[in-house]
Structure formats: structure tokens, C-alpha cells
């Protein structure tokens, strides 16, 4: 079966994008899993969640990042994974923007739980680049409907 070249190109780019975006989420999630208590402090400092929800959020979010990152790399359940990835990045951008707008001087807690990684416009810029890459995956998965399998090519017949 003939596959148009443009689809093959999108497929190859999307594999690279999936690996990079997946690795970003895994790298972001693991330090938070290692030190959940410190991450809970970061979540609190964002001042967005009611107190009772902070711990449960801090316990769950890092695992969501790692699992979504893993699914993205493995190409499993791409529709759900890509939607969740985009929703998370949009949520991160919203939380960061809101706190920059109201002038909170807090640490990002993005890739580590250490203080010092203060949120600023660079943080937002970085997340917008990630968002544009993950929106590309929406395009690939939902509009082009290209399967995630690495065998999406004539190699499949071998």
C-alpha cells in the first residue's frame, strides 16, 4: 500500500517530537516523585489549590507526568496521551502566567523541587515551545491520523 511521502515525513518528525516531549515529562516527574514533600511545598507556594488538595495533587501529578511521558515515547494510547499532555502544559502555562501576573516570587518546581529556579517569562516561553510541539502531535494524531507505530512505512511488510 502506497503511503504519501508527506505522511511519512510527519510520521518521522512525530516520533522525534514524541521522544523529546516524553523525555521532558519523565525528567520533570522523577525529581518530584523522589521528594514529594518538597514538591508539596512548591504546590502550596503557587497558592492556587485549597490546602486539603495540595498533598494529593503533589503525590499524583509527578506520576501523571512520568506515565504520560512513558506512553508518549512508547506510542501507546496516543489519543488520550496527547490530549492529556496538552491539557497539562496548558495548565502549567496558566498557573505560571497567573502567578507572574500577580507578582508572586516563587520557585518553578518544574524540573526540580529546589528553590532558586524562579518563574519568569523565560519559563513561560519554554512551556510555549513545548506546547507548540505537543499541538503538532494533536495535528498528527487527530487530523492526519497517523498511527504511532514505528512500522508505519513499507518496512511493515518485511
Amino acid at each position: 500500500m502506497n503511503i504519501p511521502t508527506s505522511l511519512k515525513i510527519h510520521h518521522r518528525i512525530s516520533i522525534i517530537v514524541r521522544f523529546i516531549l516524553g523525555a521532558i515529562f519523565i525528567a520533570a516527574g522523577i525529581p518530584k516523585i523522589m521528594d514529594t514533600a518538597a514538591f508539596a511545598g512548591v504546590v502550596y507556594s503557587y497558592q492556587l489549590l485549597p490546602g486539603m488538595l495540595i498533598n494529593i495533587f503533589a503525590i499524583t501529578l509527578p506520576w501523571l507526568e512520568v506515565i504520560i511521558g512513558g506512553l508518549l515515547i512508547m506510542g501507546i494510547w496516543m489519543q488520550g496521551t496527547v490530549i492529556l499532555y496538552n491539557l497539562l502544559i496548558i495548565a502549567f502555562i496558566s498557573a505560571l502566567s497567573f502567578n507572574i501576573a500577580r507578582g508572586l516570587d516563587i520557585s518553578c518546581g518544574c524540573f526540580s523541587t529546589a528553590p532558586g529556579d524562579i518563574i519568569d517569562m523565560d519559563t513561560i516561553f519554554r512551556d510555549i515551545i513545548i506546547l507548540s510541539a505537543s499541538l503538532y502531535l494533536v495535528f498528527v494524531v487527530f487530523i492526519k491520523k497517523i498511527p504511532a507505530s514505528i512500522f508505519f512505512s513499507e518496512n511493515k511488510k518485511k
Partner: protein, 167 residues
């Protein structure tokens, strides 16, 4: 080639991913060494109770003067992992969210009339205020909070303890 990748699949995939995530997260939290309570009230205490009642703060100049005279005990209210990454020289670690469990180990050697200075980091950080109230309630007479303590201490190039790697 399978082109039947319908968007509708997301409808079952998203809940399944979330359920799997919650199982991993709660399961790991239960088996790990320092299990975090799921619905802990520490943040509730911080955000809702006595937020502005405790106004006894100390200026960095006065704190530095007490420090150089060795006349005050500094207590770090931030999580212990952050304390380990650097803290005011000689400061004790008493993370606010573990204050009740750990306080007696920390305060047992502090005389009640000693100057105590609590600090955390960031102008919006209330951990030090909460800890100051907590210690006052325990009977310490001279507890004050150094607002934005870690940052301002560093800005004034005052002595700190850093882990070996960062020296």
C-alpha cells in the same frame, strides 16, 4: 495500515491513564519511607489560620547582629531537603509541615528566653510566620520571623552552610 485511529478512543484512554496514575501514585506513596498524608492539614493551617496575626518580624540588620553575637537560634522552616541544599550558618531544621513531630528533637536544648529567628524563603512564604506562632505557643518568649530570610541573608552575603559540593 490501520487508519482507524478515531478521536473517540481518547474517551476511554484518558480515564484509564488517570486511574493507572492514581494507583501508582497512591501505591508508591504508601510503600515509600516517608509517606505523605493524603489530606494533610498543614497547608490549610498555613493558608487559613492566623495568617496575619503574627506580626513580630525581625529586620535582617538586627538578625545579623544577633547572629554575630551568637545571641539567637535560627530555625529553618523549609522542607528538610531544601535545608540540606543550603541554610543560614548553624541554623536548625524544623520544617513547618513536620513541626509537631520533630519540634521536641529541635527545641529540647533551647532555653525559653533565647532569641529565636525563624525563616523560609520568598516574600510570600508564610512557613516562618507559622513556625514562629507555633514556637511562641510552646512557650518561647522571643520568637521572630525573618521575612524572605534565605534570599535576603544571601543578598547581604551573610554566612551560610552549603553542602560540600557547592562550596
Amino acid at each position: 495500515m490501520d487508519m482507524k485511529t478515531t478521536p473517540m478512543k481518547a474517551l476511554w484512554q484518558i480515564p484509564v491513564i488517570i486511574v493507572i496514575t492514581v494507583c501508582f501514585a497512591l501505591g508508591y506513596n504508601q510503600i515509600r519511607a516517608n509517606t505523605l498524608p493524603l489530606f494533610c492539614s498543614w497547608s490549610e493551617n498555613i493558608s487559613e489560620n492566623t495568617v496575619t496575626e503574627y506580626t513580630s518580624t525581625i529586620s535582617v540588620a538586627e538578625a545579623a547582629s544577633l547572629f554575630s553575637n551568637n545571641d539567637a537560634v535560627f530555625i529553618d522552616a523549609r522542607p528538610e531537603s531544601i535545608y540540606k541544599q543550603g541554610h543560614i550558618r548553624g541554623a536548625l531544621s524544623l520544617p513547618w509541615h513536620q513541626a509537631e513531630e520533630k519540634c521536641f528533637d529541635v527545641i529540647v536544648n533551647i532555653p525559653p528566653e533565647k532569641n529565636i529567628i525563624t525563616y523560609c524563603d520568598g516574600v510570600t512564604c508564610e512557613l516562618s510566620d507559622k513556625l514562629a506562632v507555633f514556637l511562641s505557643d510552646l512557650g518561647f518568649a522571643k520568637v521572630r520571623a525573618l521575612v524572605n530570610g534565605w534570599t535576603i541573608w544571601n543578598q547581604n552575603n551573610l554566612p551560610v552552610d552549603l553542602p560540600e559540593a557547592q562550596r
